[in-house]
């Protein structure tokens, strides 16, 4: 078999094998059971709880959870703005990098607090080491926020009637110290041993063969790369992200980093199975996500490995696949695999330029972000999936002649209102802001000429991708877009902010309202949600909602380009 394909299979295989036990472990953490790191990390948690005065065993209802979540996020937002706008004179700035402008700081702060990590700056010249450390902190806490929200929903889905849904701070700190931290340490150590820098010294320099002195940026990179992969953050230490040899030195680190992208999102599904004692349900959800993922992955692998016919016409061999914008050390298959894993999960780190993918692969990366729940971001991926499940339960419940119920709770107007709003939001943000930028560009082509390197269908894809990435809290860029200007900084910031918090508030509210309702035991007439049939139903709902929302836009971007490339 082709070794490139073998590499992809190995990555996916190891991923699933790791995700199952880690899912079980995460389940134990959220269920409050004893886990093996307790002797070491237990005291650490305790210190945090003592310092902050948190009573970790006090239960909260869903509203209190959300208040806690939004409050700490607001504090982080202010803290980050302050740091990024003043870092030029603060310590740990050996390269003398400048502070950020207000609009860039706003964009970057929102981007990191919202777990998006859209970067309208370049790490080497745009931030100091202190800045990088602040951003790294957010890579932990924003991931922890999403996971804690997800843990609340897991707790609420249990078969009982209650308002007590655990303690938010407890879930949050446990997510950071018990799950993210140990995994990040392992990944960072692997990276360090493979040559990724981990230092506080400034730029290094060497004299090239031609005799020029070349400055090479470095810094505390390994630690940040580990958490940016694990926490579906994606914000790289260096501008070109994991395509840079310092971030991703070889094929082995590429495997480790790529597995890290999907590990926790996938494990969260198995954690659900453990917490609810419904392993079949977890496998059905996993199955739906995997089939969706494969629908994007397989054609992408095919088109990337087949090569780009336009370049082929120029007489350049396409035997290695489409290699424009890709790293030779990874090859076309591993780059396509990364491209799809990073977009389905809202990670957004890249090891190849998405702008240079063949048109259909470009479309599948966008579709991955439009769905945003085939594995999805840590914690939030499942929350998005949960909303689709609510809609699927509603329609299929009707189809079997019962007013719809999900895990023993009746779904009524209020929950449908929230679910519909959340499902709508993504479409609304992506399409309306792309429309806004299209309108501006079409109306003033001279003034905004700097935005697009490639007008036409590809330019449209670039704008569509940027907002899709923002709205999916993904953070990758199609590049080729002149995005470091106030218009893009501010609009993308607004999109990221709305698309981060509303899809967290919505599912937590639904789950909280449902948890309070009367529990109805299953009967023979109840629609079982842990069956293949229901899996197909959820898949169909996702496919139809996404297809109906984005078909016209996609046909003007990647599809038009695809049919144009002969």
């Amino acid at each position: 078999m082709n070794t490139e394909i073998l590499g992809v299979l190995a990555m996916y295989g190891i991923l699933v094998l790791l995700a199952i036990p880690i899912g079980r472990y995460i389940g134990k953490v959220y269920a409050g059971e004893r886990t093996w790191p307790d002797p070491v990390l237990g005291p650490l948690d305790h210190v945090f709880f003592r310092l902050s005065g948190i009573k970790a065993d006090r239960d909260m209802n869903w509203k209190q959870h959300l208040v806690a979540l939004l409050t700490i996020n607001l504090v982080w937002f202010l803290f980050s703005m302050l740091m990024l706008m003043n870092m030029s004179w603060l310590p740990f700035n050996p390269d003398g990098n400048p502070s950020m402008s207000a609009d860039l700081a706003f964009n970057t702060t929102v981007s990191f607090v919202s777990n998006t990590n859209l970067q309208h700056y370049s790490g080497e010249s745009g931030v100091s080491y202190l800045g990088q450390l602040v951003l790294m902190l957010f890579q932990f806490v924003s991931a922890g926020t999403g996971m804690a929200a997800c843990a609340v929903v897991f707790n609420a889905m249990k078969e009982r009637t209650t308002e007590k849904l655990g303690n938010f701070y407890n879930y949050f700190i446990k997510s950071c110290t018990r799950i993210l931290l140990p995994l990040a340490i392992v990944v960072a150590i692997i990276l360090v041993f493979n040559g990724t820098p981990m230092t506080f010294q400034g730029k290094d320099s060497y004299i090239s063969m031609q005799g020029d002195t070349v400055q090479v940026s470095r810094g505390p990179a390994a630690a940040m790369i580990a958490i940016k992969q694990l926490g579906t953050n994606g914000g790289g230490f260096f501008g070109a992200n994991s395509a840079v040899p310092f971030e991703n030195p070889n094929y082995f680190t590429n495997m480790v980093e790529d597995i890290s992208i999907v590990l926790i999102p996938m494990a969260m599904v198995f954690a659900l199975g453990y917490i609810l004692k419904r392993r079949r349900l977890a496998w059905v959800i996993f199955g739906v996500m995997t089939i969706g993922f494969l629908c994007f992955l397989i054609p992408s692998l095919f088109y990337e490995m087949k090569g780009n016919p336009s370049i082929g016409h120029l007489g350049i061999s396409q035997s290695l696949g489409s290699m424009e914008g890709k790293e030779v050390r990874f090859g076309s298959a591993a780059s396509a695999f990364w491209g799809i894993t990073t977009t389905v999960t809202s990670n957004g780190s890249v090891n190849a330029m998405h702008d240079s993918f063949t048109p259909l692969t470009g479309m599948f990366t966008m579709l991955g972000m439009m769905v945003n729940s085939f594995y999805g971001g840590v914690g939030v991926g499942f929350l998005n999936f949960y909303v689709y499940m609510i809609i699927a339960v509603f329609i299929s419940g009707l189809m079997v002649g019962r007013t719809p119920e999900f895990l023993g709770k009746k779904i009524e107007a209020k929950e449908m209102k929230i679910a519909t709003m959340v499902a709508l939001l993504h479409t609304f943000l992506i399409l309306s802001f792309t429309a806004l930028s299209s309108h501006l560009f079409a109306a003033h082509p001279q003034e905004y000429a700097g935005w697009l390197n490639n007008p036409g269908n590809h330019g449209f894809s670039e704008m569509l991708y940027e907002y899709t990435s923002s709205s999916a809290n993904n953070g990758s860029g199609f590049e080729g877009l002149g995005d470091g200007v106030p218009f893009w900084n501010i609009t993308c910031g607004i999109v990221m902010l709305l698309s981060r918090f509303i899809p967290i508030v919505g599912p937590v509210a639904i789950a909280g309202i449902l948890a309070k309702k009367k529990y109805i035991p299953e009967s023979a007439g109840t629609l079982k949600t842990d069956t293949t049939t229901f899996g197909i139903m959820v898949f169909a709902v996702i496919a139809i909602v996404v297809a109906l929302s984005f078909f016209p836009a996609l046909s003007l971007g990647p599809l038009a380009e695809f049919f144009g490339v002969k």
């Binding site: 809609i391 509603f394 329609i395 299929s396 419940g397 009707l398 189809m399 079997v400 002649g401 019962r402 007013t403 023993g408 009524e412 107007a413 449908m416 209102k417 519909t420 709003m421 709508l424 479409t427 609304f428 399409l431 309306s432 792309t434 429309a435 806004l436 299209s438 309108h439 560009f441 079409a442 449209f460 529990y519 109805i520 035991p521 009967s523 023979a524 007439g525 109840t526 629609l527 079982k528 069956t531 049939t533 229901f534 197909i536 139903m537 169909a540 139809i544 909602v545 297809a547 109906l548 929302s549 078909f551 016209p552 836009a553 046909s555 003007l556 599809l559 038009a560 049919f563 144009g564």
Partner: protein, 684 residues
């Protein structure tokens, strides 16, 4: 089941005429706004009309006048079709209700005036419309009862066929559970005094008619939730269509207003939006056709969710009452002597059991002796003695339950023969009821009474079990007998020696477990349980209190009706779900028709998306819009009849419906649009 006038044809010409008229009346935006999906289509039609006028005045950029006018026309027809669906459902419901209402047109009423012009308690004939709640009236043989009411005095046989279709007359009497009379029914014999229990225009039937006519129809919670989802889809498509304008500008592709509006109308869920209220009305109408009056649409919906049914044994599970099936003489008693004693003891017994003993004895060729001359004395059943019988020629023959006869026998110093007591146990164990007969304080033998289980009832219970509905038999029998019958009939549980409060407690228990419970009842002492149950079906013959407490009234007084009600409820929800799925699945094909048509001029590559190979952009758009309109009337029969419910388990049902309405919903429009395009392409 009733046999009175019912329109089984879906499109009765007279109804269609009325519905057509109503479809235009409903174009009024103030009425249509209650249906947001169709309201937006109407706005689309108005915009297209404006575009047509604009072209008339000389605008060139929007395509030909004919094409735009056709789009306008089709949109208008789409709205009319949806209005027609609702109107025909209303008309059918109304016709059904009218046929019931005919029975209660103004009839003369013999009103009793407490203080009349000349006497007190004067009787004067007035039109029934002048009767008010609390008034009293008199009815004699041959009178039509003018209003719903409760008998306060007297007993009468009444022909209720006008309401129930059942020709056999029924007995109604003051006091007890069968004191209710319905307006429009006819008194056949005797004389009764009745208190009016409803104001004119407020009877259950009037309420139901108002529900069907839409005057007081409120959306059910489930309908509201579905409307929210549909509104959500509509908003998505508003976003898609509005943003398409700048996208088109960017791609330098002018998109005509007609194309925008067509795309929008095709995408929003017009099919289900147009049929939603028709489905709801049709659900109530189907209930009415089953002779059940529902007090709200919600009750029908809840019926589909029921988990537990409380069913009375007598009349539901078994035919009427117990019947004598065997005579078991004890010890050395002669068979003939024993049967004669049984016969004598039952001669004056007017209960169904007593009559069945006489019947069985006559069947064995034993005739009752002529007892008039002998100065016989009949002993009535009393609660104290719990036995009945006859004193004849110094003989004392008694018949009663084992305990009561035993106490008589033992008191007289005799013993019950062993084979008699054995026989009693054997009968009880087999679900029968033993009656012991004694002569002069000596036990002679045992009469066996058996319940006859209704044929086909086991299958119905099996069907219910597959639906996930638990059946509970309620009976006054002892636990042993109850268990035997419960096993034989195949119910899941039973309440033996049931008192009204037992039913209530059982319902409460089930409800705390999160279950929805239905029960049927007629007596005043059933009223609290009827009110407590999620679906309480009161018999029309029941007391006013029972009817007020329940949320449905069964005109047929048929206890098996609950089973039908469950299926009607499920059908209602399923029809909604399947048509929603169908409607949304249709959009896939419509996209493939319209999107290439929009951009084909500026981006020729998108011709590859035109997988149906439609003739031209105009023909593609027209075909999609025409299909979108035509599918509504095509689905009206399905909306009115409801999707057939099959008790095959929820997952299998979902698979089936997903395949038919989901997958079918994707495929059908591809074929339909292509066929229409073949026609339309001759002009466009």
């Amino acid at each position: 089941m009733s046999k009175h006038i019912r329109t089984n044809k879906l499109f009765e010409p007279s109804l269609v005429k009325e519905a057509l008229k109503q479809s235009f009346v409903k174009l009024n935006p103030r009425i249509l706004i209650h249906n947001p999906v169709m309201f937006t289509v109407e706005i689309g039609a108005v915009v297209m009309l404006a575009v047509c006028i604009w072209i008339w005045k000389g605008e060139k950029s929007q395509g030909s006048f004919l094409y735009n006018f056709l789009i306008f026309l089709i949109l208008l027809i789409t709205v009319l079709f949806a209005n027609f669906a609702e109107a025909i459902a209303e008309a059918r419901g109304k016709a059904q209700a009218d046929s019931l209402r005919k029975t209660r047109e103004d009839t003369p009423a013999k009103k009793i005036f407490a203080v009349g012009e000349i006497f007190t308690n004067e009787i004067k004939t007035v039109p029934s419309s002048q009767l008010r709640k609390g008034d009293y009236f008199m009815c004699e043989a041959g009178d039509i009862i003018p209003m719903d009411g409760e008998i306060v005095q007297g007993i009468a046989t009444i022909d209720e066929s006008a309401i129930t279709g059942e020709s056999a007359p029924v007995i109604r009497e003051a006091g007890g559970d069968k004191s209710s009379v319905t307006g429009g029914t006819k008194v056949l014999s005797d004389k009764i005094k009745v208190r009016v229990t409803t104001e004119p225009g407020e009877s259950f039937l009037d309420k139901m008619i108002a529900l069907v006519e839409g005057a007081s129809r409120q959306k059910t919670p489930n309908e509201i939730a579905l409307t929210i989802l549909l509104a959500g889809f509509t908003i998505i498509f508003i976003i898609v269509c509005v943003t398409l304008k700048p996208f088109g500008d960017y791609a330098s592709t002018p998109i005509t207003i007609a194309a925008f509006i067509s795309l929008f109308v095709c995408l929003i869920p017009t099919t289900i939006g147009g049929l939603l209220s028709a489905i709801g009305i049709a659900g109530m109408d189907r209930a009415l056709r089953a002779n059940v009056i529902t007090k709200s649409g919600k009750a029908v919906e809840t019926a589909g969710d029921l988990d537990t049914l409380l069913l009375d044994k007598t009349g539901t599970i078994t035919i009427g009452n117990r019947k004598a099936t065997n005579f078991w003489p004890g010890g050395t008693v002669d068979n003939y002597v024993f049967i004669e004693a049984c016969l004598l003891a039952s001669l004056a017994d007017e209960t169904p059991e007593g009559k069945s003993i006489v019947e069985l004895a006559s069947g064995k060729g034993i005739k009752p002796p002529d007892i008039r001359k002998d100065g016989a004395k009949f002993i009535e059943f009393t609660a104290e003695t719990r036995s009945s019988g006859i004193d004849l020629n110094g003989m004392k023959i008694r018949k009663g339950a084992f305990d009561s006869i035993r106490s008589i026998v033992v008191k007289a110093g005799n013993e019950i023969p062993v084979d008699v007591s054995d026989r009693v146990h054997v009968i009880a164990e087999n679900g029968g009821t033993p009656l012991v007969v004694s002569k002069d304080n000596v036990a002679l033998g045992v009469i066996e009474l058996q319940d006859i289980i209704k044929p086909g009832i086991q299958e119905r219970f099996q069907r219910l079990r597959k639906m996930g509905v638990k059946t509970v038999m309620v009976t006054g029998d002892n636990p042993l007998t109850a268990k035997y019958i419960a096993d034989k009939a195949g119910v899941d549980d039973f309440i033996a020696e049931a008192k009204p409060e037992d039913k209530m407690n059982y319902i409460r228990n089930e409800q705390t477990g999160g279950k929805l419970v239905a029960m049927m009842g007629d007596g005043t002492n059933d009223a609290p349980a009827l009110a407590q149950a999620d679906v309480g079906v009161a018999m029309n013959s029941g007391t006013q209190a029972a009817k007020e407490a329940g949320n449905m009234v069964d005109l047929d007084n048929d206890p098996t009706k609950l089973i039908e009600i469950v299926e009607i409820g499920k059908q209602l929800l399923m029809t909604r779900g399947t048509l929603t799925t169908f409607s949304i699945a249709n959009d896939v094909a419509k996209y493939f028709a319209i999107v290439p048509a929009l951009f084909i001029v500026s981006i020729p590559g998108l011709q590859s998306l035109n997988i149906m190979n439609l003739h031209s952009p105009e023909s593609a758009i027209l075909s999609a819009v025409i299909f979108n309109a035509i599918i509504i009337p095509l689905l009206i029969p399905l909306a009115l009849r409801g999707v057939t419910y099959r008790p095959i388990g929820a997952s299998a049902l979902l698979r089936r419906n997903l395949l038919i309405y989901g997958f079918g919903g994707i495929v059908v429009p591809f074929i339909g649009i292509k066929l229409i395009d073949l026609l339309v392409s001759t002009w466009f």
